[in-house]
Amino acid sequence: MPVANAFLKVENLAKSFALDRPVFAGVNFTLGRGEFVCIIGHSGCGKTTILNVLAGLDQASEGHVFMDGRELDGPGLERGVVFQSHALMPWLTVRRNIAFAVESRWPDWNRARVDEHVRTFVEMVGLGAAIDKKPSELSGGMKQRVGIARAFAIQPKMLLLDEPFGALDALTRGTIQDELMAIVRETRQTVFMITHDVDEAILLADRILLMSNGQDTASGYVPGGIAEVVANPLARERTRAGLHHLAGYYELRNHIVDFLVTRARAGSR
């Protein structure tokens, strides 16, 4: 991806909790407009920290993030976040949960307009029938769909997903992956997503960032970082069902799995 039309630019990002032992350092990458990028790595490598820095919820120890040519400082409505734990407010119905976001984005909209907008996005994720239910009455998959609808409803320039399907069973996960892919393709949304699931990354991402953990080597401590960027060679019109029949799928999958097994945290165990 040429840097010239980079929509999001991450420069030399580092985060340390203990002195001289940064979790990750020297993280550089870019995201093009409309690009879907997944980041994959073991627990503790700092994926969530990177996402939180992009979301403005956390501060990097070093480095800068630019979006649309302007440095990011704090959270903002132009970035929609889907949280791992869905983070819906349990005292509000699905309608009110999404309306809360919509009202935050467009405070001068009247009730009818907000409601119409909310309805559009609830129907987009196929939950029209459950619009007046509380989150406690929904299944895990439905809750995560509401979380996705909420993030899309504010029509952000970029979507940040923190392992959104981690807590779902395989069947539900597959369905929502398909839905997410359809919506993203249709809205040409720029997405940055954390995942643990190699197939999920291959299905959804245009590029996959492979992240290594910080390691103690013979020559001293090496902080974690982005070890490799893999461009997804598979056709963009891929489907979950046909994924494993595509030429190049196994090579790509093996490459990522090999990375995770051997290189991602060599020497740490």
Partner: protein, 286 residues
């Protein structure tokens, strides 16, 4: 479930019957030992008469029987609003005075404790700074404030309200601060990513999230306030259910004392039920 409720109601009724039965038996006029003069000398009869153990009078234990109690209760409940001067008012008037004091003190406590608890809960610094004061002030019996209140306020009725205020304020303050401090981080993060203004965040996110805990505090406060009002009114006198109990004790009218105790219990239960209902309204399932 329904059957269980029915069984429980049956057992409750039996327990009540048993209780009344024991009460009845315990307050039966003592017959046997006193009242027979057979086999006593004239001197012994004279002695017994001097000691008040007259054979001619029916001596009871002095404790009212269930019958006497029910008579008093029906009489009190038939005319709860009469007012025959400062020392003789209907039970409803006395209750109204007590409830008024509790409501006023409780309301004042809400006005102080909820916003203050909110601020304390939001700031770890204030949480620590206020903690020693709360820890010291909380265990003080509210009645210990009474002399100070009477001296500074110089009005017994307002002092009563102050005592209710001071005992209601702590559970509400502590619970509000705790509820606000333990609002889930993810909800706050949602508010942050949506650039929600601080005021909107306070009312739309933190308040509903902390509401169940805050209402629990209010329920505890109301329970304590109702306990304290009786003692406070015994102390300051004038009006109220506590004063009524004390006054009837001075009248040696134990039936009225028992009646008042029952009324205090029932009203306390109703207050608690009311707050339980409020609590249920704001409780959410995660």
């Amino acid at each position: 479930m329904k059957l269980l409720n029915l069984k429980a109601a049956l057992v409750s009724t039996l327990l009540l019957a048993l209780f009344v039965g024991i009460w009845y038996a315990a307050t039966l006029p003592a017959g046997g030992t006193v009242g027979t003069t057979a086999g006593m000398t004239a001197e012994q009869i004279e002695y017994a008469r001097m000691m008040g153990k007259d054979a001619g009078t029916q001596k009871s234990s002095g404790f009212p029987t269930p019958g006497q109690f029910f008579a008093t209760m029906t009489q009190q409940l038939a005319n709860p609003f009469y007012d025959n001067g400062p020392n003789d008012k209907g039970i409803a008037i006395q209750l109204a005075h007590s409830l008024g004091r509790v409501a006023l003190g409780f309301l004042l406590a809400c006005i102080v404790a909820v916003p203050l608890g909110f601020v304390i809960g939001m700031s770890p610094l204030l949480q620590r700074a206020f903690d020693p004061f709360i820890q010291v002030l909380k265990p003080i019996s509210p009645l210990a404030w009474m002399p100070l209140a009477l001296y500074t306020i110089k009005d017994s009725s307002v002092s009563g309200v102050f005592v209710i205020f001071i005992c209601s304020v702590w559970p509400m303050l502590i619970n509000t601060a705790f509820g606000v401090a333990s609002v889930k981080r993810e909800w706050l993060n949602v508010a942050r990513t949506l650039e929600v203004t601080p005021l909107r965040k306070a009312f739309r996110v933190i308040l509903p999230a902390a509401a169940p805990t805050i209402f629990t505090g209010m329920r505890i406060s109301m329970g304590i306030a109702w306990l304290v009002i009786v003692a406070a009114e015994m102390l300051v006198g004038g009006t109220g259910i506590g004063y009524f109990v004390w006054n009837e004790w001075n009248n040696l009218s134990l039936t009225n004392v028992i009646f008042a105790i029952l009324v205090i219990g029932v009203v306390g239960m109703l207050l608690d039920l009311f707050f339980a209902r409020l609590q249920k309204l704001v409780t959410y399932v995660e």
